[in-house]
Symmetry: C2
Subunit: 516 residues, 2 copies
């Protein structure tokens, strides 16, 4: 056990260009023709039947061109819409022939009213950073992109309520409110591209959920357009409002199947004046949990993230992204972030905590950084694993919640089960939230490997009362496994609500709810 | 300006017996015959029509007696059910002839199935501490009490998820988990009597919302019985679960109109090891806001409550409850609570903050306490105002959210408007949440006073985009004012959902949704 090496040791193991915002560069895949190599979803799932929707005609396109005048608002050219048809993971590809880019709620309303009347299916799309094929067409759905719904509307500095259109990029919002000493209550690796509307539609979690809770608590109000074009005004900037059913909650996490979120009000917490990140090595997953328990008690109100990576995850960084780790090799790594209003107090708490962890033998080695570029570098180790895995070829991606004690056993069982049929099986994620990211890779998609993974992984999770999708949603790829995490009564009520709000089923079909 | 008197000054101005749990003693009103003095709701609102429900018959009572064997499970004696017919404020009284006290979800299911089949209207009731007449019958609805659904089911110490039946008393849960170093994410003056199920059904706010957020974030799962008796299983102990629509959210704040919550899973945060409370005097409401702004920045992550009382509120304590204030008379009082994991750090932050507030002239005098009984005493000053007001006779009670800057103007306008027609107009509440409690009293109910208050108060709130019910709900008394805070499109969708889930309208009729 090394104890001399804990902190303060600044790490300088990543180049400056390796920033957190890697989604933008991957997004560029789509516009360079690489999307064509992605198998069409309707080809990969030959038994899937297209819904009884109309087929887009010239008269429809002409209507939309009149509705949305100006350049770049109605895209119908195959090369222009290629990126909108393909998901970030390059595992789903639709064949939509039309992308619409409205700028106002009224335009969204007119679009949906027209599509509903003419029985045209619609897929809403934000930053297209989703991981379950929820934001791209399955067949030929019309894509309604929120890219131009990108205006910040207002900010109340005292209460912290930020009102904006749904197409605002998360990172842009974060930068904007930083000047007012506020921060956004969620943080994702995709923040350079993802839209707040997409975050809301998917109930995005991310690394700050441990501190600031879910969007069900942080979204104060929203405006959505229902499938029939009606504008649902649930906008509010109030922290408390108990007047009737909290309808906005229905749209948080319904993945665009009940309507399109056009604007939202976000409760933004005070920006911490001091942030520290510790990156620690330890010998087992049970030690990861022991350290977490201590962190909850000793870091308490300043703990803002508690993440872990296994050795195989860090190997992805090293092998595929040529990154280096600031500490040696260990079976498990823990990333702890603290944020607070008094750097001296936070440092004292963190030091006391780390000394206790070292003397208890829970932590074997570690480093602590406080400088923002160094913090970003450490975070890159955690956040770029998803990108690194894509370099292997095809990535089988799972995002599950489990009781923390059973958390890592799934990785071990999967590794044993798949053996050499895959390149690797890695586990990392949000320990504090009980949220494991389980990933397997192979050079290309293999139905044999997939058959070994599913439904095994879902059965495993279900056995321990976990969630088969902790934060990524069900989208297209996981919808038929919904019963592994939800009761029949619950799914039946979801279907009832869907039918009531979207009787023609035009909103994001083939997503979330299971095939009937 | 006095600066010598700030802290540490321990206050000893209340007797030990004056605890926070004053709801229990008031609840006793109901069983001593005093309820009979409350005007029947159907008499006070003579134009209100009873819904087309069946009338309870002997055969129905016999069914329920078979279903719920044992003593005290089916109450039909007038004196026994008097308290269940009357609300805590003694402003609403129904004439139900039957109270049912199930112990299991299956019993609740059988009750609702029977009532739905036989067209009997039902009102669910928890601790009956609501303030808008939501938990008592309007006419002769059958009362389904959650009093015997009072079992704690499980606790996961590491994740903090507590699973219990819906009739558990909030304070009992808090005491139970304190042994595990956890605390409940909401705290109310009514915690000695209110049930967690009622808290969920009304989306109760309380004094910790500033720190831990609303129940939409803290409730991890729930089980509810739908109006047709079907059991909706949305139970989960997971912090993250994005598998389909988050149906539990619909039941949080729907005030028992969509079903009866029978069990829930609550995310319990780490119990703070150090708590301090400061009680401060200042000269204007704009200073109250200035102090809040500074507290957000300087106390940040340890700030757990920021409350205010006006001079008239403190006068209620003094005149009607014979309490004394630990500091002199000031136009406004601020109660600040900090909670954290390191008492020394918290004290240093609080001291620095208070010194700055004194030297800026924002705070005129104050006291700080850290001992738990003293903390309770200070909190009593804030939490017993509601009780004290009842001693005047009739209390016209409003609970609104407003943009913080406009917050107190409503009190001033109301005071001017009502003049000497009322005993007093007081304002206090949760400044940090933008939530004002506005109260007027008169010796007895006066329709003339009421006509001067409503709809004026709702119009005023609506003009500034506030909420006419921040945390109390709409219940029976405020349902017809829903359009002052919610759009037509939103209310229409609420009605659509209500009709879809409760087609016969048996669940808590005459509540939440407006008269058609």
């Amino acid at each position: 056990m090394k104890i001399h090496n804990v902190f303060p040791r600044l790490c300088c193991f990543l180049t400056k260009s390796q920033t957190r915002n890697t989604y933008n560069s991957c997004r560029a895949f789509h516009s360079t023709g690489r999307s064509q190599s992605v198998v069409l979803t309707k080809t990969r799932y030959p038994n899937l039947k297209r819904g009884p929707f109309s087929t887009l005609g010239d008269v429809d396109v002409q209507f939309f061109e009149r509705l949305l005048p100006g350049t770049g608002r109605v895209l119908a050219d195959a090369s222009e819409i290629e990126g909108y048809n393909t998901d970030w993971l390059r595992t789903c590809r639709g064949c939509s022939e039309l992308v619409l880019r409205p700028k106002t709620t009224e335009e969204v309303s007119a679009i949906l009213n027209y599509c509903n009347t003419h029985n045209l299916a619609v897929v809403p799309q934000g930053g297209n950073t989703g991981l379950v094929g929820g934001s791209v067409p399955v067949f030929d759905e019309v894509v309604v992109s929120t890219q131009l719904l990108n205006q910040i509307i207002s900010l109340d500095e005292l209460s912290g309520s930020l009102v904006c259109q749904s197409g605002c990029v998360l990172g842009t919002l974060e930068d904007y409110i930083a000047d007012y000493n506020l921060t956004i209550p969620l943080d994702l690796g995709a923040k350079g591209s993802c839209h707040i509307g997409g975050n809301i539609a998917t109930n995005a979690g991310g690394v700050r959920l441990l501190r600031y809770g879910s969007l069900h608590g942080s979204i104060l109000g929203l405006e959505a357009v229902l499938p029939n074009g009606e504008i649902l005004d649930c906008m509010s900037t109030l922290r408390k409002d108990n007047t009737g059913y909290d309808l906005k909650q229905l749209f948080i996490g319904s993945e665009g199947t009940l309507g399109i979120v056009t604007a939202a009000s976000v409760l933004c917490p005070q920006k911490p004046s001091a942030v520290s990140v510790a990156f620690l090595g330890c010998e087992s997953f049970s030690k990861v949990l022991d350290i977490y328990k201590q962190a909850k008690g000793m870091l308490a109100e300043i703990l803002s993230a508690y993440e872990f990576l296994d050795e195989a995850s860090v190997a992805v960084n090293k092998e595929n992204l040529k990154m280096t780790s600031p500490i040696g090799d260990f079976p498990f790594f823990v990333l702890i972030e603290t944020s607070g209003s008094n750097g001296d107090h936070d440092e004292e708490k963190l030091n006391t905590f780390l000394e206790a962890m070292m003397s208890d033998g829970l932590v074997l080695d570690g480093t602590v950084v406080t400088e923002s570029t160094k913090i970003k570098d450490i975070w890159s180790l955690r956040e770029r694993v998803a990108e690194g895995l894509l370099h292997d070829g095809y990535c089988y991606k799972y995002d599950v919640s489990l009781p923390q004690a059973k958390f890592y056993d799934l990785v071990l069982d999967m590794r044993e089960r798949l053996g050499s049929s895959v390149i690797r099986v890695v586990g990392y994620g949000h320990v504090g939230d009980g949220n494991l990211h389980l990933n397997m890779t192979s050079p290309t998609y293999s139905s044999e490997v997939m058959g070994n993974i599913e439904p095994f992984v879902y059965d495993w999770v279900s056995k321990y009362s976990g969630s088969i999708s902790a934060e990524h949603g069900l989208g297209f790829k996981k919808r038929n496994f919904i019963y592994h995490s939800k009761s029949k009564s619950a799914v039946s009520l979801m279907q009832q609500i869907k039918k009531s709000i979207d009787p023609n089923g035009i909103m994001n079909p083939y997503k979330v709810l299971p095939e009937e």
